[in-house]
Symmetry: C2
């Protein structure tokens, strides 16, 4: 799969540059070692505070803070001092994996695997002849905190909202081991991809 070769090259380069979320590195290596599938953009889940200039103007949004673990109250307070313009949101998002499958049978297996691992918003898209499965969960928080530099909530609320957002993040991340077990079973079923090991060696990524 030429596309897989390109995707793996891109992933291994990003890993060497420290650009891949550490807590999903093992999972990404596992998924990519499986025959007939590979990952594209994936995220280990995050909580952050973002400024959106206008509803829907996503490309112009800027994160005041974004972490892949629980956020502390102090971090949130500090980040809010940087708010200037637009709507300010506290956002909590679950881990999300985009996995390309080379045929519909594999796409269906991935879809079932995501759901069986507790990722209830697992869906897919067909793009050209490729099947892109999105393994996604339900724990999303999108809480407005203020606008145009003005924070409209007090410390008690910020602390509360952070607690809810952090709980959601931990809850969804808590399913990653189950996802890993299910992918290991899938690997036994579909087999290992020699291309993966060849490229891992070339990039000196510890893959076994």
């Amino acid at each position: 799969m030429k596309a897989k070769r390109e995707a793996l090259t891109s992933l291994f380069r990003a890993m060497r540059e420290g650009k891949v979320d550490e807590d999903i590195i093992d999972l990404l290596l596992l998924i990519n070692s499986i025959n007939g599938i590979y990952t594209t953009s994936s995220c280990s889940g995050r909580i952050g505070i973002i400024e959106e200039p206008a509803l829907g103007a996503k490309p112009l949004s800027r994160w005041l803070i974004k972490v892949h673990r629980e956020m502390t109250f102090e971090e949130a307070r500090e980040a809010l001092k940087k708010a200037e313009k637009g709507l300010i949101f506290l956002k909590s998002q679950p881990p999300i994996f985009h996995v390309v499958a080379e045929d519909i049978e594999k796409a269906k297996k991935l879809h079932e695997l995501g759901l069986a691992s507790g990722f209830k918003y697992t869906t897919f898209k067909v793009i050209s002849k490729r099947y892109l499965v999105e393994i996604n969960a339900t724990e999303y928080l999108t809480a407005p905190l203020g606008r145009d530099g003005r924070v409209l909530i007090d410390d008690e609320y910020l602390s509360f909202a952070l607690e809810v957002g952090n709980s959601m993040l931990m809850r969804s991340k808590g399913r990653l081991p189950r996802l890993g077990r299910n992918f290991r079973k899938l690997r036994e079923e579909l087999g290992e991809d020699e291309l993966f090991y060849e490229l891992a060696e070339k990039f000196e990524i510890k893959a076994r």
Copy 2:
């Protein structure tokens, strides 16, 4: 399509009982009149206040208020008086359509149609041999307001959060006419389904 006959029967019954969101009735009739596709659960978009006993215990959640139009401040305040136990969230959700396609070609057209109509979270699932396309948008708000009967936000914040939630709802609903135009084009392409008109007549639903 036996499944379509059952789905249409179910839809027409619900319409006669006033159980279908009024502002998507015409769109649902249009979509179902097209050959090879039909709708299952769909919603015209809503904003509401919900109580969730524990994170993830969705079946036990109860809505304190839920409307398919903008919510007023007074309505929100009144509803919050009913809060008792669990996490209280203000939730705003865009219109969402679930459309079954009889083959992958139609599913792909539906997928492109959803995206082209501005519904950027349009995806699909394969369930048995059926293709279920979910036409969904990005404007979701999930803001915690308090817990166990205690509201942790003041009137100014409630008013602000409602404004944001209402704007999101109006924004996503504002794409419905475009979705309608695109479905009309799809109907010209795929043709009309006589089964639809036959059942509409039987149930005395004005469909033309």
